[in-house]
Amino acid sequence: MAPPNIRSSSSNRKAQLSVFTGYVFAAAGAAIGAALLIISLWQPQALSGLRSVATDASAPVGKAGAGARVGSMNIFQAIAGYYRAGSKNAELEQEVRIARVRLAEAAALKRENDRLKAAIGLREADPRPVAIGRLIGSTSSSARRFAYLSVGRSDGVLPEMPVISPMGLVGRVLEAGQGSARVMLLTDSESMVPVRRSTDDVVAFAQGQADGTLRIRLINLGINPLKKGDVFVTSGAGGVFPPNIAVAVVDTVTKDGAVARMLSNPAATDYVAVDPVWKPEAVRMVDVQAGPAKDKP
């Protein structure tokens, strides 16, 4: 459809003026946007209150939908799951057989572990989760990877707290509203988690990548000891994340590390636990040394 032809009429002074004011308002809008953008890139937390209020207001909608998501993956995986069902079934049965064996091994190891711990009198203080909530949605079209959580400050959730699912680490709380919170997922490109290999002490950083994988950056460069299938767990360095939480499994090995897949696919998690910051005093110390940085792990 052609636009209403008010601009070309030279006699209609009012219409011309309204076009002019329209441009003025639109340009002012763009300028306001640019100014706000600079502020929010410079001080990411400056406008977080506004966002938290908005998320709080709409959280009930998301909570209603979150129940339907249990067990499903993202939209494409859900559709793709119908193909190759037979061969997948066979593969899964094979995997289950292997997993049973591994489970028995793990149980044995756990017993041995308990015995050894009892022997040296070490008691592991398992931090109790601050709150249990649901992931109610995520920014599925932005380049940043945030998810919305159904619990907030009224449940004790505060920024920086790690978010953990039964399958592993999901991310950490970035902003907390009264009844909802915004979680930075591990795959966000600003997210960086100190990790170590589960079998030994190869330490590395797991950094989010745009395509939903994690880049494992080794701290000690040299001969790359990683192999496909290596599992990385949190190392506890930095003080935010408690140690020994599963993070990622190596997919392909690169020159300076590896590309890994997240173990806890946030799309398939139902309930997540928000844990307290592991060592708050360590985090404070890092903050004092580095200054008030914005998105530090």
Binding site: P3, G33, I38, S40, L50, S140, S142, E190
Partner: protein, 185 residues
């Protein structure tokens, strides 16, 4: 003897033409409401490990603006973008800036090419969506590398394919918008 006229002569696709008129609330509210609703897509129960879904609010804005010029005022990028920023995960202000620039860009385009076919609208929308996705990625504050830009490609493809569907939805909403529901007298 008066011939009985066709009983449908006093009706059209928007309802009875007698004693009924368009509702201003519906006529002007539907575009705004639909775009605001589309801004809430992050609350859909899809947790994406990578950006996959097209920016629905922006697509709807484009479709409404291209199909019904003059309906959304030139300054509408400011409120619509601000609302989108609250949920999209972009830093606050990027939606305001990009939506406002889009509205002004299409206005200038309208001056040069007032009559367009759907195919031309689609091409224009494709160009604008590509620009929007790239600029949004740059403005998002995310670390930009080659992989980031590569990962935009599926999203852009999906957005291009989604545009005709969105345009069809907009034309359905447009019919809803112009229903004569207000009773006169």
């Amino acid at each position: 003897m008066i011939e009985q006229i066709n009983p449908r002569a006093r009706r059209d696709a928007f309802g009875s033409k007698i004693n009924r008129d368009h509702s201003p609330l519906l006529a002007f509210g539907v575009p705004w409401a639909s775009i605001l609703l589309a801004s809430l897509t992050p609350l859909l129960p899809v947790i994406a490990p990578a950006p996959v879904l097209p920016p629905f609010a922006y697509l709807l804005l484009l479709a409404w603006r291209l199909m019904r010029p003059g309906l959304l005022p030139l300054w509408s990028g400011l409120p619509l973008g601000a609302f989108d920023d609250l949920y999209s995960g972009q830093p606050f202000g990027s939606g305001i800036l990009l939506f406002s620039l889009t509205m002004m860009g299409i206005e200038l385009l309208d001056m040069r090419f007032p009559w367009r076919s759907f195919w031309q609208d689609w091409i224009i929308a494709t160009g604008l969506m590509a620009a929007y996705l790239v600029l949004a990625a740059i403005l998002s504050g995310a670390r930009l590398d080659r992989m980031e830009l590569v990962s935009l490609a599926p999203q852009l493809l999906l957005a291009i394919v989604a545009y005709p569907v969105i345009a069809r939805i907009v034309s359905l909403l447009d019919r809803l918008r112009l229903l004569r529901v207000r009773r006169l007298g």
